[in-house]
Structures are given as structure tokens and as C-alpha cells.
Subunit: 430 residues, 4 copies
């Protein structure tokens, strides 16, 4: 099997490409708008590759040729997912499952380059499924956007906050928001004041979309309305003022949630803990306290009371066309392990307050990513608004539950093994 | 151009695959070890796809067929990067540049599905390069691992900490560490005590590797040595005790660094701010304070004093075979904008204390990802140990600098436009 | 003037005290209940001092005699503010003012042992008053208590959260809460779920009391009701589950507020900045960004974006009978300085989301502390419920505004002086 | 016994005071320098009280008279601890003990207005002492100061950091530091870079003083030296840049320590847990995990993994002349409870990384506060430099250990009682 790179597609570059490349290199054709200029996205990629090979900033022209480019639907990408495209990066995708969750079975696609991650998560799924499955509940759902607004004085910022916090006025804002979208709905707004700055954190229902763009548009309309009315003195400095808080580790998401807040749990029988996970209930529980609670507390963690939630979130996001850059807050998670049934069994849970997912829009429009969503049965809009996004969020939590269980078991098994060796090392009685 | 999926490769599945699939489905052949059993990784993938289509947890068998699989080097993946592989997920990769950094020009590959990200970063690169380039410095370099160790008492944990903090004893630990690796070197160790638990955060030079495995092995040797000697009462509960702190938002990385700590800066002439970035020095600076400093402070951010560093870090990591799950802490960043030269120009900087990168091992062994590193001129081990990893870290910071500059400019330009409209909206004097 | 200590009160200890001391030392009389046993609180103190002098854990019996005890109303303390009392610790109290705030003038009492603090705060008051005064607004008011409740499963904890978040059910809870108090009122409740644990953060109006006891009682009634009804499976593990969050640095208070959330501001004319504060608008502003925004961000601060709010909060709390141990969160504060009027003047603000104060109950029942509240005109219950507590909270913020202004000015003046010296150090032109 | 207030000291105000008051009110005599002008601190206080009664900002002149003033050593306060003094605020001081710690018995003085605090702490002491005592260890000791320094560029800031981190240069800095103090010694310095700003966190041994002033002076000398030498381009914007971090909740103290880092522990026999603490080992342990670990994690706590450390720290600081405003970070604490000896007994520990105490200087110069230190046997400088400060820090930790134990027991006993009642409520079997 050969990589789809220039080494075997040289002939395809043929017809007229060279001439176009010349034009691009001499700035007659702008390299960023080749798709539009040539009216052929795949050809634009071919030309851009040749252009790229001749750029001074490229240490190895030959290496450009080794980035694959064939067999990819560049039309879907154009104007939606990426610019200046010169090929694609393939990530291996594997499957962890079966995962029995809320009575339904899933095979979870994970795209990653970290060895052992999929195998380990799969082992966790096996333990959960052998235990009769996991349960998950969505605690809340809502995408947020918090513009930064400046007033002439702190007193005015306080007046704005008071206005927004009055339930009667929320209705007014909702009406304005609704003019911009059929799917979105403003559900609440909390204003944080800092001197004369106000950060209005709008929370919105966005159907099955992750929803940031939808929210931004709606929020903009609300502010235009207020600016033309009672708050003519507001200055909208930026549509995002970082209290949203997108793609940054921030307490506001951990405390107030963003996207879907989900909790998932399972009770693993002691015999499964031993046969599948190769550890004991006691060893797993004591490691969890020592590492995920005490260790993270000492590290000054913010929402990082878990073993490796980020691994599973990132891999699942990449497979399913989600925004992997959001894993900063989407992987906030507290993992708890406790003895159950008098110590015979193991209760495990993960609580994740800010899983930001969507099953329409963004990277989900790309065929391979959409195929992964279809495998899970959650592609596109759900019957009920947001139901696919919510189900995807529970799958994220369920997969994290499996991943946590397996890694904690492995680490604690290491301890058990060392303890065993230490015991055997001791001299026999004379 | 057609996607490399089952729809057009059905024939290829032919010879004997069906029989093998039967065996897998009836558990005669374990599905996770097909690569080893069949001795052909590509064929293993074909078989696994068919098996997967028949699994109860798969909502759409047909969708499995739409995940691409041809033209991928599964041999490279096997035993190193992923398990239970049934295809690959292609991510579009574009290029942002030229970026002039420390006197060298780069074309930065970014793999993403977020529209406008590459174009925006490219605009930032343009501004920086027009300004004569950016500078970056590596402040420190070192991978960390902090096992959780339990002692019979807090007094013993304190004794262990005192022992490790004695410079003379560090040499002893270094010697043990060195027995496990030719490339790695233990540079320091700081012990955090919590009651009778001790979290020994070992900091290590790991050459051009990201280095977590190397460090784990070395740390294990040190602890074995201590356990057999003066600290026979130590119990190693887990090789990672979350004070490391890997893939979780934690203050310890923000304060003490992990991987490469880098600062990058540029001074953008006022005319470039206006012509390329379409904003003004004053508007950009005031937005940065309002959003990235005050806004993030109000949000309770931990190392999240930036606009969207995570976007650029994730896209660059995905293109270059880095571990995208680490962007949780790798994207910790404070972005500062200030007027320079009496307000005529704009000084911009990003400071990123925990960029975890490697140019050997991990996902860098895959050809496409390695090609991206080669484009940057940093593939494989550098002349001087760690020099390629350090250079890659500066490119990360430089690209983030570009991305921050461009987004902040765009947001502040929105403000300027609104201010302009508001001004024009006012009735003319009679 | 002589300290009111045993050195000059030996005679007073006379009558029969020795005999009682003997009984206490021989355990016939329990030392902790002397007040009740003797029916005379002052005499109980005398006896306890003699007992204390003979205790093995006392390195210097003579030193006990040097702790003052005369002239103190021990009856007020007994059963309310302290136990095992053997005297009192006098803290010097000074006054900072006049502080013109919301059109009213205050002389602010501050009890402290930190030299220069009162003088510095007074200078800040002078600048504010010369500027025409400061304004302050209360953004919200409400005391919180979050019991930790355990359910058999996470799904049940989620059901409990859903129940509490339904507005209709809040009314039910309010009714139960109301059975326990005439003054308090439950205003909202937000449940944080972590696995099968639920932390229900009840927010309550508590009139002019700081209100923790009132809230605890009301919350207890609500939980008893729920426990007897739909949530018979709830286990109340502890009335405080640390999501309240009392006397600990926690994001939940910074984000959601506790007690009074207050913002205060003033615009200081440039000439006052120079004549009273001895600095310049530019120097003060640039220090504030460098220290209170960037510096605190780098330090991983949580609500600590100020210079020394804790100093003023603590001194004012000690003077006015507040709980100084709450200064951990009460002193959370972001201080902002900006040029105003084109750089001619200085705008300064402080935003403090969790000022926990009361003007009835707690230490306010002691005469000296109550006298300080009376000086401010806010002793006892206000005309409108909570109005005195709110006014006291604005005085706290106003005093912090003064303290911040003065210290930042002093630090930046140091910079100006050094810059001046550096300039003069340079050789004159030939 | 009557309070020492103006109601019974009117006669004392007599001689000539009225005339002086007139002068002060007409601005002939400055009210802030009465001590110097009159050459009699007590008389200055008398005059200031009369002046204060006539100030417009005083809502009740009569209330001023009710703030006690007699019997206080104003000479000690003048020029050292407070300004504009008009009396004193007495805080009741009680004693908790005996506390057996490191083989020594203490009676711990606590000054507070929070009812039940002393009694509760005393109960904790009783349990600890009955258990054979607690152990404590000082993990590190060092006061910190981090000036904010600005350079022309980030590259220069990075160069400065590199210089400071070179061990050879530390010696140079130490030499400069040593020129300013006989007692202090610079032990290390870590520079945090943020763009072109550098925050150099100097760590210093300051003997038995809390040491902030000593450190500031020494740091100033180091910077003057560097500024005159290789770093002529450094601008010292402020001697404190908030990375110190004084009186603010910040991760840097939690991670790196400030003042004394102390761990204390005890093992309480099961029968003592039951007889003295009225709870069970299991109930206390499970509450601690639910509240101090999980609850605080959910609250976004920073170093606040305890029940009420701030209460004990504040009360002990107030009794012993420490700076109560520092309890923000001094009370950072993680409390751990675990079953010991197979569940029969209870192991409890507190870990407190930033206890800032001193036994010379500051409020310790006041006689009553010094008397409390003498009771503990730690007044003034210790035999070995810093030994008294260290011992005081262990007493702080030991008292917190007692306070935590007692409150957690009380809370968990409440749970046990409710569980018991619930059990009894159930109908008897027929």
C-alpha cells in the first residue's frame, strides 16, 4: 500500500499546472484564492503544493510532496473548514467498544497517535459492559458567549447588570435574539462587572449545533438593540470578552458549565475488577484519592481531577469532527472511585461540566467525520432539538469513564505487583 | 476525485477476507490482534472493517465503509500509535506563512476543521514578517513526571522531601536515572508533601523527544533504588500522581513550566497595524487589556490570558505529529499588547510556559506528520540534543503570536467599525 | 498609663480566688465552665488566669499576667463570642477619612498592627474626597450554604439537581426555609453534582446579619422536608460541603458572589494625583497593569488582582466586629486604573464580589465594635432589611479603593524617583 | 467591671485638652502628628478622640467615647503599628490546650469573636493529646518578594532570567543582599517572564522575623547593583509585582511555599474518636473526602482543601501579634483523614505551605501579644536563627490540626445522628 503523495501522482499534476504555478509564484494569481480562481478545489491544492515547494520558508520541498493529498473532498473543506490547503493529515482511527450506556451499545471511534490509548479504553468498555452497563445524565445544556462591554462608569455597568438580571428584561433580550435564528434560543444571561467593564455571559440553546456562531449572531443583535435604546453609552469592545470562556482553562466553565454538563457512572462487580481490570477494588480506590483528588489539589488543578480525560475527549473529537481545540475545557472532569456493596464492588463516576459538542456544522460536514457520527447513530439534527448533541455528550462521558477506569486500574495494578514482589523478596523464615 | 472508502474498494476486499471475517465474528480470531495474526496490517484493517459493520453497537454499517482506509501506512501505526484501527480520519492541512522568526522564515502547517483559522493566522504572519520578524527565546526545557508515593507517616514523607532536596542526593538520583537512558538526564526534583503522601516532581532533559516514557522509566529506576535503600517504607502508589501534570489544567505547569517555556515578541509598525491588521494600536491594546487580562481574571482563568492560543497549538500539533491531548497545558499563554515608540507602533508578546513537543517518537514517526516537521526543518534529532524540539517550540510560540495578533485585530476592528457607524448615525447639525 | 494586667491587679484577685483555683487545678471544678459555675464572668477570668499560670504547657506563668483583663465586658462574650477566656488582646484602632462616598462622609475605623496602613489609607481617602468623592454600587447580596448530600447513584443526584433547578420547586423549598426564620429568605439554589454527591448552594437574604447560622438552620429544614418526601434516599453528610465556600479561596465565590458584591470607583483629577498622591496618571496606570493584572495572572491568583485589599478589609473587620477569618474571600478584589479625560485624570475602581458583613449578631454585639459601627452610622438593623449591611459593604469597598490608590501611588512614585535619579546620573552634554 | 471608655474617664480629659482640640479642629495642629507635636502619645489619643467626635463623617460622637482607650501603651504603637490612633479594640482571648506536639505541651492562645471556636479547638487538642500527641515538620522556610521589572524587550527579560538562574550569579546577588542586613540571607531566586516583564521571586532566610521589610531592602540593593551593571536597561516598576504573593490567594504560594511550609499529623485511637470526638473513624473519613477533597475541587478551591483552617490561623495570629491580613495565604491547607491500623484508628494530617510568622518585629512588639508568644515559649529571637518562628509555625499547624479534627467530627456526628434517627423512624417489624 502506498501513501497518496506526490511520489505517485506526479503525472496528475501535468496539464497546465506548471503554468498556473508560475503565475502564483509571480503574484499574478493570489495563492489564497486559487480555489475560487481555478474553480476546482483539488486542482487548487495541486498548484498550491508546487508553489509551496518553491517557498523560501520550506526546508524540504520534497517533504511537501510527502504530505498526502489524493482522495480528499476539498470542495467540502473550501469556505468552511480550512484555507491555504495543500493536502491532508491522516490520523489512524480505531474503535473502542462495545460500550453499554443507558441501555444502548456503542462502538466508539477514536482517532489518535498515542499508542495503547484505544486498547486501554476498550478494556474499560469491556469492564463496564460486563458490569451491565453505565448510566449517564445530562445535567444542563447551553452554549455561552460573553462580550466585553465598556461603560462610562462602574455605576452604569452596575445598572446594566441590574437590568439584565431582571427576569422581565430577559424576555426583551430573548425576543431580539430570536430575530437572528430559527434554532437558537437565549435561556439566561449573567453579567460580571469589573469596574466599568461588563461581561455579559449569554447562555443559549443551540439545537444540535455546537453553536458558537449562532450565539455570537444573536448576542450581537441583543447588544445592538440595547445600544440603540436604554444603553446608548455601551461600547462593545469585543464580541468575546473571555468570560465565555472558549478554549481557555477557566473556573467559570467548571462552576457554571458550558455546552453539555454530564455525569456518568457504573458499578463494576469485584470479579470483573479482578478478571478484566487486573486490580482490586481497594487498590483502585486508594489510587484515585491519592492521584485524582489529593495530587490534583496539590498541583493547583482547575477541573483536572482525573487521570487522562483529555486523551479520550481529544480522540473522540477528532474522529467525530468536533473542535479539538476545545478539549481544554471539554476535558474538565472529576473522576470518583468508591467501594460499593460493602467493598465487594467498585463504583466509578466521571462528572464533566463543559462538553462542547455538535452533530451539525463545523467539522461534522466532512464525510469521514460524519461517518463516525453515523456509526454512533447521532449524525445530523436529532428528532428533538439538541438530542443528538446530548447523546454524543453522554458517549463522550461514557468513553471517558472507560478510559479512566482502565488507566487507574493499570496504575494501581503496578502498585499491587510491586507490593507483591516486595513481599516475595523478603527472606523466608529459617 | 473520490474518497478512498469502501464504496470503490469493495473488490479489494475480495480474496479470502470473508472467511477471516467469519472467524473473527465467531471469536475464533481475536479482533484486536488481527495485525499479528494475519501478518498484514492493511489486510487486518479490511477484515476489521467488515467485522465492525456487523457489530450491534454500530448504528450504520454503511457509514463504516465511508471512513477512508486506502493509501495509509498501517505498519507504521501498528504497535506504536493506535489499536483496533479500521481506517483513518483525514484532516485538511493548510499553511500559514511566511513567518519570519529569529531571522529564519517558516511556512507553518496547520491541520484543522475550523474555518478562517489558517487565513487569520496567515494574516498575523504577514504583519509580523512585514514588521521585520519576531523574536523568541526558550526560557527553560524539561519534561516532568511526579509519582505519588505513600509513607507510613507525614514525618517520613517530610524526611524523603528533605533527602531529595539535598543537592548531594540529587547526584545519587541522577546516577540511577542515567542507567535507564542514553538521551535523558535528570536535572532536578521537587517534592510536594501532603500528609503522608509525597509527589516527587522529577524534571528531566529528554533530548528531542517529548519524553514522557523516557522520564517514567528513569523515575522508576530512582524509586526502585531508594526503595531498596534508605526508604524501604515508600509505597509507589502510581507512577503519575497528577503533580506532573499531564493533560490537565494545573497551576504547577503555569508556575514551574513543563516541556519548553517560551516567550515570543514582535513590534508591529503602526502602518502595518492599519494596512494589514485593519485596526489601530490603541484599539488593539485596549481590547487586549479588557479581554485577555481583565476578562480572563474575572473568568477565573488559569494560564488562559489569551484569545485563542489553543486553536493554533492544536492545529500545529495535529499537523506535526504531536500529542494534541496535551494542548490543555501546552496552550497556556499570556498575550500582551502595548503601544511602542510613543504609541506609534504596537508591541506584542506571547509567553507560554509549557509547550510539550518532540521531533522524534510518538506521532512523528508517521510519514505525513514527519513531512510537516521536515518542511519546518526540525524533523528527527537536532545537532545539539533537544535543539529541534526547542526550535519547534519557538515556531509554536511564533505561530500563536501571529494568531493572537490577527484575532485581536479583527475583534478590535469590529469595535472601531461600530464606533464609526455610531458616529455617522448621529444626526447632522442643523 | 499602665497596662491593665495582673502586675497592678494582684489585690483584686484576692477574695476567695485562691480556693477556687485550687478546685479547678484538682479538677473539682471544670475550667471551661467557670462562668456558669461562679455566676460571675469577670471572676471566672481571674480564676482561669491563675489556673493557666500553673499549667505545664505555659512557658511563662508571668507572661499570662501580662495579658490585659480589666475593664472588659466578659458577660457579653460569654456564650456568644469566645470560651476559656483569660483576658483580651487590645488592637490599636485609628481612623482614615474623611471618605466621601455616595455623597456621604465617613471616618473609617481601622484596627491593625501594621505600621503605615492607616496613614496610607487616609491619604487615599484624601485624594478621593478632594476628587469629589467615590461612588459604589451593590451588585448583589446573599449569604450561601452548600451542604454535601450523597445519593445511592449519580442518576439520583442528577434527579435532585433537576428538581431543585425547577422554579416551581424553589417555591416549595422557600416555604420550608421560611418556617425557621423571620428575617431570612431563600432566594435561589444551584446544585453542583460530582458523581453521586450533590452540593446544593443555597443563596439567602439574611437582612442585616452576616447570616451563616440563619442560613444553616433554614437549609436544614429544607433538607429534612425533602428527605421525608421525594428524596428519602438523600444522606446529608455535612451541612457545609465547601461549595459555600466559607473561609477558603474558591472560584465559586469569585464567580457567583457571596455576601455583598460591590463595585466602587472614583475619578481623580490629575492635579490631585500629583499633589496628594505624588505620582502621575501614566505611572500609576502602568504599574497597575504590570502588577495587579499581569503579575497576579502569572502568580496564578484567584481573585487576587489587587495590591493589598486584605489589609484594609481585615483592619475594618476587626474594628467593626466582623469575622476576620472571612477576609480570605472578602478581600477578593480586582483593582483597575485607567487614564480618564484623555489622560489628564485617573479613573480607579475596585470590584469585590464577596464582602461578607453584618451589622447585627456575631462580634457586633461587643460594645467597642458596635461603637465603631455607630460611628459609621450602620449599627444594628437598617430601616430596610439589609440596608445597613449593604452600606457597610460599600464602606469596605470605598476604604479598599482608598488603600489601593495610595499604595499603588507610592509604589509608582518609587519608580518615578528611580527614573529621575537615573536620568540625573547621566553625564551632562559636553 | 466597667469598660475603659470616655463615660468614666471624662475627668481625665481635663487639663488643657480642650484648647489643643480647638487648635486641631482649626487646622493649626495637624491631627495626624499629635503624638509628635504633644510629645505624649496617650494625650494625643485623648485629643484625637475629641477632634473625631466633631468630625462631620462621624454619625455618633457619643459612640467614639465608647471605644476604649485607657490602659494601653500608645508609645509602643507610635511610629510602628498604627497611625491616627483614637483607642483600641479589645478582642477576647481564650486558651486551647493542652496540645501535645513534638513531645512538648502548649496552651494555645486564640483571640476571636466567633463563638464555639475555642471550645471546639480545645476538644481537638484533647483528642490529640489523649492520642499521645501530634508530630509536625517544617518542610521549608523562606520569605519572598518579587519586584516587577520591565525591559525594552522580551529577549532582554529572558536574558535577565537566564542570568539569575545561573548558580554562579546567585552568589553575586547574595553578596549584594548581604550588605543590607545582618540577619537576612538570600537563598534563591526564580524569575517569571511575561513578555518584556520579569518578576524575580527572591526567597530569603529572615531569622525569626516574618521578614518582608528585610527582604524588600535586600532585593532593592540587588536590583540597584544589577541596574548599575549588566542590566542598565531594567526598569523597576514596583518593588512588589504580586508574584511574591502577599495577602492574595495565589497558586505560587501553594506550589512553591512562602514563610514556613509545615505538615502536622496524629493518629487518634478509635476509642478516643468515639469518646472525645463523638464520631466514628469511618464517618469522619468519608466526610473529609466528600467535603474537603471533592467539595473543594468542585468549588474551584485554591489551597482551600480544609474545613476552617482560617479560623484558627486568624485567632492565633491575632493573639500573637502576627499580621492577620496574611491569613489569606497562611491558611492555605489540605486536611487528610484516613483509617489507620485496619480502620481501628484515625490518621489525620494538615499540610500548610505558606505560614507567614515572626517572633520579632511587627505586632510582636506590643506587650499583650508578646505575652502570648512567651506563654508558648517562642517570644523574640530563637537560639538558632529562625527557630522560634519555625516552632510558632508548627504550633499554628498543630492548632489547625486540632480545629479541623473537631469540626469534621462535629459535622460527621450530625450525619451519624441523622442516620440513627432515620433508622429509628422506620416501623418495627410486625
Amino acid at each position: 500500500m502506498v501513501a497518496h503523495t506526490d511520489t505517485h501522482t506526479d503525472t496528475a499534476v501535468g496539464n497546465g499546472v506548471d503554468a498556473v504555478v508560475e503565475k502564483v509564484c509571480s503574484d499574478e494569481l493570489p495563492v489564497h484564492s486559487l480555489e475560487r480562481e481555478l474553480g476546482d478545489c483539488a486542482r487548487a491544492v495541486l498548484v498550491r503544493r508546487e508553489w509551496l515547494k518553491r517557498q523560501p520558508g520550506v526546508a524540504s520541498a520534497e517533504a511537501v510532496g510527502r504530505v498526502p493529498h489524493e482522495g480528499f473532498d476539498y470542495d467540502a473543506v473550501h469556505g468552511a473548514c480550512a484555507e491555504m490547503v495543500f493536502g491532508y493529515i491522516p490520523l489512524p482511527v480505531g474503535v473502542a467498544g462495545p460500550l453499554l450506556l443507558n441501555g444502548k451499545t456503542y462502538q466508539v471511534p477514536l482517532a489518535t497517535v498515542e499508542g495503547a490509548l484505544i486498547a486501554s479504553t476498550r478494556r474499560g468498555c469491556k469492564a463496564i459492559t460486563a458490569a451491565g452497563g453505565a448510566s449517564a445524565a445530562v445535567l444542563s445544556q447551553g452554549m455561552t458567549r460573553a462580550p466585553v462591554i465598556r461603560f462610562p462608569s462602574a455605576i452604569r455597568a452596575a445598572a446594566f447588570a441590574a437590568w439584565m438580571h431582571d427576569p422581565a428584561n430577559l424576555a426583551v433580550a430573548q425576543e431580539q435574539f430570536a430575530t437572528t435564528t430559527r434554532f437558537g434560543r437565549l435561556t439566561s444571561c449573567r453579567v460580571t462587572v469589573a469596574g466599568r467593564y461588563a461581561y455579559a455571559r449569554f447562555v443559549c440553546a443551540t439545537g444540535d449545533a455546537m453553536g458558537m456562531n449562532m450565539v455570537s449572531k444573536g448576542v450581537s443583535a441583543v447588544l445592538d438593540f440595547l445600544s440603540a435604546g436604554s444603553f446608548g453609552d455601551l461600547e462593545l469592545l469585543g464580541l468575546s470578552g473571555n468570560v465565555c470562556c472558549d478554549k481557555k482553562a477557566a473556573a467559570v466553565n467548571w462552576i457554571s458549565g458550558r455546552g453539555c454538563s454530564v455525569v456518568a457512572e457504573a458499578t463494576i462487580p469485584g470479579h470483573v475488577v479482578e478478571s478484566v481490570l487486573k486490580t482490586t477494588v481497594a487498590a483502585a480506590c486508594e489510587l484515585n484519592v491519592a492521584k485524582n483528588l489529593i495530587g490534583s489539589a496539590m498541583a493547583g488543578a482547575l477541573g483536572g481531577f482525573n487521570a487522562h480525560a483529555s486523551n479520550i475527549v481529544t480522540a473522540l473529537y477528532l474522529a467525530c469532527g468536533q473542535d479539538a481545540a476545545q478539549n481544554v475545557e471539554s476535558s474538565q472532569c472529576i473522576t470518583l472511585l468508591e467501594p460499593a456493596n460493602g467493598g465487594a464492588d467498585l463504583h466509578v463516576s466521571v462528572t464533566m461540566p463543559s462538553i462542547e459538542v455538535g452533530t451539525v456544522g463545523g467539522g461534522t460536514i466532512l464525510a469521514p467525520q460524519r461517518a463516525c457520527l453515523e456509526m454512533l447513530g447521532v449524525a445530523g439534527a436529532g428528532q428533538e432539538a439538541g438530542s443528538h448533541a446530548r447523546e454524543l455528550a453522554t458517549v463522550v462521558a461514557g468513553a471517558v469513564l472507560a478510559g479512566e477506569l482502565s488507566l487507574l486500574a493499570a496504575l494501581s495494578a503496578g502498585h499491587l505487583m510491586r507490593a507483591h514482589l516486595a513481599h516475595n523478596r523478603k527472606p523466608a523464615a529459617p
